[in-house]
């Protein structure tokens, strides 16, 4: 047998290649089927159980198929959803919820108040494995009368209604779930959301069909395919090649390049995630001068401008401007001279630096390692010698839960309901497994706020806590992240400040 590779063979091969490649590539002119390159995969369809239930990045997919008890608008404000009214009775011993009428599940069955009561009871049952069980278990003894659900307040939780549009706050179909079980629900999930699941390939894609009976109005795109593309470079290639119409979370340099190129449109708004440095009250961090110097020596705006191409908002407390307890009056300046003076008072300086370890992830968030490198450089100038230790995010969680983080540790914190309990509260309250600052003074300040029924007094109390934390440098808030989203010219994306990318908020340009 002889082999000849001549011009004719080559042309035939090329023609075959083009024919092969033409199979199934999306047309770019008319967008009939919206394709989104998503940055995470979807491990499970039950939004109330398991690790994916508390993964903020996945919530955008869940919210496309399921409705939460209460709707959260793009600016984080609550709005009537499946519950049209909600509140406590006068003595706060009961909660009363009014359920929307005329809603149907994706399988055509009617949505009822029984579904709401069952979903809340199920979430409160420790056997189901809901990670937010500690919140849902504060309600019990549900009664349903018409479209009204009433429950006893077993323990007053001021944020209970905020959790109804936060992690695991979803309504599931009682009758359907009891009929098909957990496995059947995983195979064919049914919700009341704007989109219905048409097909799902684990680790690959989910194809959604618009819910024609959606109570909030049928979404603009009849069909939406969400491809799971975890690699940022591949996501950029997806939109650049026209294989996908929308994507998110790419390096800011790539975002600027593609947006300025004119082929794609972009939106970049601040979302509810923040970057921060935990300070553990051990070793040198017990010295207030060291902590205060560490805070004063960081030029946050420079980091945002140089490393994040300007995409970020400097913060001085764990609240962003969208959060309920944000107080613009609390401000910490960049003051390296003052930092040096404080260190000198404790016997430290550039020639005799104070030494500690700072832990950080590398590549978990945009420029996380680079930011810490820059901060270490700024610290060095004033007399702080920090050694960087890189760890995986899983290690961070483990160390934080065991209260064994290094004296300083970088982390990002999400709080899409914007309540101070779910930012300052859990991050800084000593007994919380998420806090590494155990000072009794702070515990005494925060303790009474957990059950404070007077909302005005509660928020004022959290602002006072934030002021105290800033004054004593108990944590280093750095910045509020900005989420970059790129879209093909035919699509208009309405970003959501929670960071959830919602196909129902996308329209044709």
């Amino acid at each position: 047998m002889t082999m000849h590779l001549n011009r004719r063979n080559l042309l035939q091969l090329s023609a075959a290649t083009v024919a092969l490649s033409a199979a199934g590539l999306p047309a770019s002119a008319q967008i009939d089927e919206l394709v989104i390159a998503y940055n995470v995969t979807l491990p499970s369809w039950d939004p109330t159980v398991g690790p994916s239930a508390v993964n903020p990045t996945i919530q955008g997919i869940y919210q496309s198929v399921f409705d939460q008890f209460i709707l959260q608008q793009p600016d984080l404000a609550p709005a009537p959803g499946l519950l049209t009214e909600w509140g406590w009775n006068e003595d706060r011993s009961k909660v009363v919820m009014t359920v929307r009428e005329g809603v149907t599940w994706h399988d055509g069955s009617p949505f009822t108040a029984e579904d709401v009561a069952w979903s809340l009871e199920r979430a409160a049952n420790p056997e189901t494995g809901n990670p937010i069980n500690f919140i849902w278990s504060t309600l019990g003894n549900f009664t349903v009368e018409g479209n009204t659900v009433t429950a006893d307040v077993l323990r007053f939780e001021p944020t209970i209604f905020k959790w109804m549009y936060f992690l695991t706050g979803y309504v599931l179909p009682k009758a359907y779930y009891e009929r098909v079980g957990a496995e059947g629900f995983e195979a064919a999930p049914v919700g009341t959301g704007p989109y219905m699941v048409d097909s799902f390939e684990r680790n690959a894609f989910v194809r959604l069909k618009a819910n024609p009976n959606y109570w909030g109005g049928k979404p603009e795109f009849d069909t939406v395919t969400i491809k799971f593309v975890p690699d940022a470079a591949s996501r950029v290639a997806e939109v650049e090649s026209g294989n996908s119409h929308v994507t998110l979370e790419m390096p800011y340099e790539e975002y600027d390049r593609l947006r300025q190129g004119g082929a794609l449109t972009g939106t970049a708004i601040p979302i509810s995630d923040i970057g921060m440095i935990f300070l553990n009250d051990i070793d040198v961090m017990l010295d207030p001068n060291v902590r205060k110097a560490a805070v004063l020596a960081i030029d946050k705006q420079l980091i945002i401008d140089r490393l994040l191409s300007g995409y970020g908002v400097k913060i001085d407390t764990l609240q962003t401007p969208e959060y309920d307890a944000f107080d613009a009056a609390i401000s910490v300046p960049y003051d390296p001279e003052q930092a040096m003076a404080l260190l000198a008072a404790s016997g430290y300086g550039p020639d005799n630096p104070v030494k500690f370890t700072i832990q950080t992830t590398r590549g978990f968030k945009p420029k996380d390692y680079e930011m810490i490198q820059a901060i270490v450089g700024m610290w060095r100038k004033v007399g702080i010698e920090a050694e960087i230790e890189v760890y995986e995010i899983a290690k961070h969680y483990e160390l934080r839960a065991a209260d064994t983080l290094a004296p300083a540790a970088f982390y990002n914190w999400g709080n899409s309901v914007g309540d101070p309990t779910t930012s300052t509260g859990f991050a800084m309250f000593g007994p919380s497994p998420h806090s590494v600052w155990d000072g009794e003074d702070l515990i005494a300040m925060i303790g009474p706020l957990w059950g404070e029924a007077d909302e005005e007094k509660r928020i004022a109390g959290w602002k006072a806590v934030d002021a105290y934390i800033a004054e004593n440098a108990l944590v280093i808030p750095l910045l509020q992240y900005v989420q970059p989203i790129l879209a093909a010219p035919g699509v208009t994306v309405t970003p959501h400040a929670s960071g959830a990318l919602l196909p129902a908020l996308m329209t044709r340009s």
Binding site: T2, M3, V18, L20, S21, A22, A23, G24, L25, A37, T41, P43, S44, D46, V49, G50, P51, S52, A53, V54, P126, G129, P131, I132, N133, F134, I135, L167, A182, E186, E201, R202, N203, A204, R207, T223, K227, F228, V229, P230, D231, A233, S234, A237, E238, S241, G242, N243, Y391, E392, A394, Y397, E398, A401, T421, T422, F426, S432, P433, H434
Partner: protein, 336 residues
């Protein structure tokens, strides 16, 4: 009989190897940093919540107890339940295995084709500029790692000249009439060229990225073997009989020269399957490798164990198959 005895010994050692792998993996993934329970703790979780979740996933027992429970389950065909997906591990890994196998086999075919072509052409054109060009191309293919080839291919055929799909395994809009997860195989059997074309348009780039370094290795080794064989007496005799150079290479030299390459292909195939972990991630291909990365990120211990054990089974099976094929092809081994 010696062959049968060798097979039985190999099977016995394989079982011991797999048990060793199981022990190592089980212990290592519990010792390395990263606690799956810590990762799913919500803000405000109490010590009781932590204890409840730990018990729920069976992580409150000692490692020895956990291993005993897991091993007894494995022997009954129960590899446990994935923490993140809450699905049986066995069905998850078996569901993804066909995708990875199809990608690996396609990559292997491409590698053999390209490597063989390079070796044969280089041998045929030895001493010319064509041989030098092939050697340079071989060197380039070998020196660039597969993930970098992946990025280059995405850029070339996904962005600059967007002719192939750069993510996924099949177009979501297609209705798949398949009974198994061997999509490519089934599309061929069912004579569905539309589906075959769509699948290949998705698989060609990741397969090529995996294949190029292996093709270079095959090309180099086969060419070297051919070069040595071409100087043997029986090849000279064939030439003196008047056979053309192409005939001499293909019919006389190649059968002898191909044996070392076959062994190499077997060994490299296992590395190629290992390479799918990164390549599948890069191309968002729904195989075992992609699933493995998610499992590691989420510290999904039962799923990591299941995937590693399956990879170990594949590696040992491929090595066994190569040894058997080598024994069958080599008369000296066949007859003891």
């Amino acid at each position: 009989m010696p062959l049968l005895r060798a097979i039985l010994i190999r099977l016995a050692t394989t079982a011991v190897t797999l048990l060793g792998v199981a022990v190592i993996v089980f212990v290592v993934i519990r010792v390395v940093p990263g606690n799956p329970i810590a990762m799913m703790l919500p803000p405000g979780a109490t010590e009781d919540d932590i204890a409840r979740l730990t018990a729920l996933y069976g992580l409150d027992k000692s490692i020895a107890e956990q291993f005993a429970i897991w091993l007894s389950g494995v022997l009954r065909g129960d590899f446990g339940t994935s923490i993140t997906t809450r699905q049986p591990v066995l069905s998850l890994v078996l569901g993804r295995l066909p995708a990875t196998l199809e990608l690996s086999v396609l990559a292997l075919l491409i590698a053999v084709l390209l490597g063989g072509l390079a070796a044969l052409t280089g041998t045929r054109a030895r001493g010319t500029r064509a041989e030098a060009a092939i050697d340079i191309a071989n060197g380039m293919a070998l020196s660039v790692p597969d993930f970098l080839w992946g990025l280059i291919l995405i850029l070339m055929f996904g962005v600059v000249w967007p002719v192939f799909h750069i993510s996924g395994r099949v177009s979501p809009a297609l209705d798949l009439p398949f009974a198994s997860n061997f999509y490519l195989f089934e599309s061929l059997v069912r004579l569905r060229p539309d589906l075959t074309a769509d699948l290949l348009a998705h698989m060609i780039l990741p397969a090529l990225a995996l294949a190029l370094p292996l093709a270079a290795i095959i090309g180099q080794l086969l060419k070297q073997s051919l070069k040595e064989t071409m100087h043997l007496d029986y090849v000279t005799l064939a030439r003196t009989k008047g056979y053309g150079e192409t005939h001499v290479i293909l019919r006389e030299a190649l059968p002898n020269a191909v044996l070392p390459t076959l062994t190499l292909i077997g060994v490299q195939f296992t590395f190629l399957i290992g390479g799918t972990v990164i390549i599948e991630r890069l191309f968002s291909y729904e195989g075992l490798g992609n699933m493995a990365i998610d499992a590691v990120i989420n510290r999904d211990l039962p799923l990591i164990q299941g995937i590693v054990i399956l990879f170990a089974v594949i590696f040992t099976a491929v090595n066994l198959a190569v040894d058997l094929a080598y024994a069958a092809l080599n008369p000296r081994l066949r007859h003891g």
